[in-house]
């Protein structure tokens, strides 16, 4: 039995000041030399993650799976895919992470299983099978026709005919991923038992995949239904009662007003991703104006004080454009997906660095804005060294290529033969492993990796970024995004220039009259704030973060 308190002091709000790091296990490090990343390999790289300042490792699904959807098609909730290792390897990894002060969460898909799952095999076998009702069946493929199709590039209906069952089964994602029937109390109980199994192993929580779709009701779009929230509250209560200090992170790619429902009254999910802010940050940097970010922030409701947003620039999926207007989507495609191969479903399948034309200033600026917003930042593996993508690989595999550790064979990812690798590492002259790798950036004091480590450390020194209030400033210069964060006595001013040109901005800081801005990276003291507007000049794509310190000395 694991005692969470043995590793961490009890702190129900730990996730609010944490930095998350998302890992595609298959692509991180191959510890067994078979061409696939695995738990042993990941355990070997924990020192690196600790050095970087990661608090929480988020793993994509590692369960047995036919791998027709990157493991989100789970065939057994109680095992580990043989490519990744064994349950014992998972336990060793979790303990090793805890020893280094890092927590671990994994993806859990509650909405559906793989059609290979034993439950589905039983269910389809006969209408009288006790598991039949664990899935959603119909004779009529037009039922629930108000529900949209999510994977529009590959699916034509949410119903698929099953010859063996003699009925249609419901699926919101791929046709090989039948939805579980949450109206059946046995399914709810079975899923709670799955949670208990992994929490007993020491896991610190879950990213709950695709939560808006658990229930179906006639004459609705079958998303965000009340029944779904009731069930998630039950999940939360189970976790709170039996496993304190864990976290539930909801993936609900919805508008902020709908997503906040997943926090309940602070009694549902601890965290939820803020999806819509992400494309708007890319829009803002391309249009050189703060308006897109400001608009979405004003639309974002307050959330309970024991909850937190998960914020990210990129992840393992396409850069999703579901939560933008048609016009905005066209703009994003024209700016960021000039090659049609870069599009996927309603999104763009590219990594951070290529999206920003590998601009170091742009990467730093976007990271700074992300880190200044109220929420916990979620980094995507490889983005810390500005890895590229491979648009010639299918589906979302182009942003899931092997982590580039060194300039050696296979980028130091694996000792296997090149032909054995699950996917080729990048080898192009700009983003290839010989140009972009951890080893080289570790040795180069001015590298992005070394900069990001310092920046993460800086953010973590100030709980204000996770716990503080958030106030947007609206200076006359529309190219500037500025905000004030306040927590207890810590007041921080973040000013970002979205323009490609140098800018001056006058900020109304009269509320802080008498305080002195001290730049947080170099600790340079700036002139005191007075009655008049505070003038700052910023380099192209530049930013300043200041502490506003009480200052008794005269200027």
């Amino acid at each position: 039995m694991n005692h969470p308190g043995q590793w961490f002091e009890s702190d129900p709000l730990w996730f609010k000041t944490a930095v998350f790091y998302e890992i595609h296990l298959r692509g991180f490090f191959d510890g067994t030399g078979d061409g696939h990343g695995d738990f042993r390999g990941l355990t070997e790289k924990l020192d690196y993650l600790q050095w970087l300042g990661v608090d929480v490792i988020w793993l994509l699904p590692m369960y047995p799976s036919p791998m027709r959807d990157g493991g989100y098609d789970i065939a057994d909730f109680y095992g580990v895919h043989p490519d990744y290792g064994t349950i014992e390897d998972v336990r060793t990894f979790i303990d090793a992470a805890h020893e280094r002060g890092m927590r671990v969460i994994t993806d859990l898909v509650m909405n559906h299983t793989s059609n290979d799952h034993a439950w589905f095999q039983e269910a389809r076998s006969s209408p009288d099978d006790p598991k039949r009702d664990w899935y959603v069946w119909s004779d009529d493929p037009t039922r629930y026709d108000e529900a949209r199709i999510i994977f529009i590039d590959s699916e034509t209906s949410n119903w698929t005919w099953d010859e063996q069952a003699g009925a249609y089964y419901w699926h919101r994602f791929f046709h090989h991923q039948p939805d579980l029937n949450y109206d059946n109390p046995e399914v709810q109980q079975a899923m709670l038992d799955v949670l208990r199994f992994w929490l007993d192993l020491g896991l610190d929580g879950f990213r709950l995949d695709a939560v808006p779709y658990l229930f179906e009701r006639d004459d609705t779009n079958c998303e965000n239904l009340e029944e779904t929230h009731v069930f998630l509250k039950k999940v939360r209560k189970t976790v709170d009662d039996e496993y304190p200090d864990r976290v539930l992170l909801a993936e609900a790619n919805q508008w902020p007003a709908d997503v906040v429902e997943y926090f309940g009254e602070g009694d549902e999910c601890h965290m939820a991703f803020h999806f819509p802010v992400m494309p708007r940050m890319f829009m803002a940097v391309r249009r050189e104006e703060a308006a897109p970010i400001l608009e979405i922030l004003t639309q974002t409701p307050h959330i309970p004080s024991n909850c937190q947003w998960g914020l990210f620039l990129r992840n393992h999926d396409e850069l999703t454009l579901e939560m933008v207007t048609d016009e905005e989507r066209d703009y994003m495609y024209s700016e960021y997906a000039k090659d049609p191969r870069m599009k996927l479903n309603l999104g763009i399948r590219r990594r951070l660095a290529p999206l920003l034309d590998n601009g170091r200033d742009e990467i730093e600026l976007m990271t700074a804005i992300l880190f200044s917003l109220p929420g916990s930042p979620v980094l995507y593996y490889g983005d810390e060294i500005a890895m590229g993508d491979n648009v010639y690989l299918g589906d979302r595999d182009g942003v899931r290529t092997p982590m580039q550790w060194t300039g050696d064979r296979n980028g130091g990812f694996s000792r296997a033969d090149f032909a054995q690798l699950y996917a080729p590492p990048l080898m192009d002259p700009v983003y290839g492993f010989q140009a972009v790798n951890v080893e080289a950036q570790l040795r180069t004091p001015s590298s992005l990796l070394r900069w990001l480590r310092r920046f993460i450390a800086l953010r973590k020194e100030h709980p204000v970024f996770g716990l503080g209030s958030f106030e947007v400033l609206t200076p006359a210069n529309p190219k500037i995004f500025a905000c004030i964060r306040t927590y207890e006595d810590d007041v921080v001013l973040c000013v970002h220039n979205l323009a490609r040109s140098a800018q001056a901005v006058e900020l109304d800081l009269s509320w802080y009259n008498g305080r002195r801005p001290v730049e947080m990276f170099g600790r340079s003291r700036f002139p005191k704030i007075g009655e008049l507007a505070y003038l700052l000049t910023l380099a192209p794509r530049g930013f300043f973060w200041f502490r506003l310190e009480e200052d008794d000395e005269s200027a």
């Binding site: 308190g5 590793w7 002091e9 050095w51 020893e99 002060g101 570790l442 040795r443 070394r450 207890e488």
Partner: protein, 421 residues
């Protein structure tokens, strides 16, 4: 008498004025009692876990033992009885007896000696998890390592807030003298005993690496990045300390403006293959952590560096980190003789101390723990010494400007030495 605690005035004021309160420089927002266990009604003795919350929102936890005279007898009895009171469990079985006296000036803990037989150390700053001192002393005692005072008991807390070690009891080493004081009082006498200390240190590391079946102690291979991560971290520390270097502090001259040179030197030293193994080690090793008695050297204080988190202190690292700590303390002793006593250390003392200690250490220690070959060992050792010196420089600049020349000389010395090849 330092214990039981006699709290006078408001709790917050009292706590923040104690010597063991770690964050005197920070602004405390509030001090709250999170847990209170009554250990005894007559005489009164309580155990309290108290939280100091800081303005920035972080906090630290401390152990308090408020009570009346005679309260320590209760504590002794509970240890002897292996009692359990509330969330506090006592281990030992050997009731400490005899006169009780407080140990002298301690920074971060409070210790009392029972009948010159046993010494109980009460940890003040409390963090979740097993305290490395308990873990290390228990491991070394169980394996018959002679240069450590045997473990005779401990007590711990387990409850809603955390699980934590609260205190440990060891045999008291009578008629011994602190290695640091001794080096100042009798430098040549100590010099003659340093090969013995080097050998004991080598043996300690060999014992600590001897049990592959205990996950907390089994030696580990360093990861491919280990040295790069270490170098990158030290490089940042150098950059920071040189960024803040005051312009007009006497004693800085030998290194002023040479930050880039130091970083280049670090870079060149780090071109060494990965090697050696990572093990549990002392963690805060210097002359002041040793005692010399008729029985030989005894090593103390296995808590690790108090400024680091408990998780950090339990990490396995190269044993050469301990060696570097001891070598740096020879540099301190040589200079302190002049600074504190007005008597320069005997000519060549530091060099001879280094050599005597190091030769015996390298001869004794399990060779598989070191990088292959003396040049690689020397380089890694030099990196750890530089790390220490940079840390010392920052500390002395903030606390004891008179002592700044010591780390400065250490850094300058590395700049002069040839890189071992």
């Amino acid at each position: 008498m330092s214990l039981p605690d006699r709290i006078e005035g408001p709790l917050g004021e009292w706590v923040t004025q104690q010597r063991w309160f770690a964050s005197k420089a920070r602004e405390v927002a509030s001090v709250n009692v999170l847990e209170r266990v009554e250990l005894s009604a007559q005489p009164a003795l309580e155990l309290e876990l108290v939280e100091a919350r800081f303005q920035a929102g972080t906090h630290e936890l401390y152990q308090l033992l408020p009570g009346e005279d005679g309260g320590l007898r209760v504590l002794a009895r509970l240890l002897g009885e292996e009692a359990q009171v509330g969330g506090v469990t006592f281990h030992g079985g050997l009731e400490p007896t005899g006169d009780i006296r407080a140990m002298g000036a301690e920074q971060s803990n409070s210790s009392v000696v029972f009948g010159e037989q046993q010494v109980l150390k009460v940890f003040r700053r409390v963090e979740p998890g097993i305290n490395p001192e308990l873990e290390m002393v228990r491991f070394l005692s169980a394996r018959g390592f002679r240069n450590v005072a045997a473990l005779t008991g401990w007590y711990e807390y387990s409850g809603g807030i955390m699980q934590a070690t609260l205190g440990i009891m060891q045999a008291f080493v009578a008629d011994s003298r602190d290695g640091w004081q001794l080096a100042l009082d009798d430098p040549l006498g100590v010099l003659a005993r340093l090969p013995e200390l080097g050998a004991a240190t080598g043996e300690m590391h060999s014992v600590l690496a001897s049990d592959p079946t205990d996950p907390a102690f089994s030696p580990e291979e360093p990861s491919v990045e280990a040295l790069s991560l270490l170098t990158a971290t030290i490089d940042e520390q150098i950059e920071q300390v040189f960024l803040d270097l005051p312009r007009h502090t006497p004693g800085l001259d030998p290194i002023i403006g040479r930050g880039e040179e130091v970083r280049d030197r670090l870079q060149s030293m780090s071109h060494v293959g990965v090697g050696g193994r990572l093990i549990r080690h002392h963690g805060d090793y210097h002359l002041g952590q040793t005692m010399l008695s008729d029985a030989g050297w005894t090593m103390l204080d296995f808590e690790g560096e108090p400024a680091r988190s408990l998780l950090e202190r339990r990490r396995k690292r190269s044993p050469l980190r301990d060696v570097a700590g001891m070598l740096r303390s020879f540099a301190y002793a040589a200079s302190a003789s002049e600074l504190l006593r007005g008597v320069p250390a005997p000519a060549g003392w530091e060099e001879q101390a280094r050599q005597g200690f190091l030769d015996a250490y390298l001869e004794t220690v399990d060779q598989s723990l070191l990088p292959a070959g003396r040049p690689a060992t020397d380089k890694l050792l030099a990196i750890f010494e530089l790390e220490k010196a940079v840390y010392e420089l920052r500390y002395e600049l903030n606390n004891r400007p008179d002592w700044v020349p010591i780390p400065v000389a250490g850094i300058a010395r590395l700049l002069q030495e040839e890189v071992p090849t």
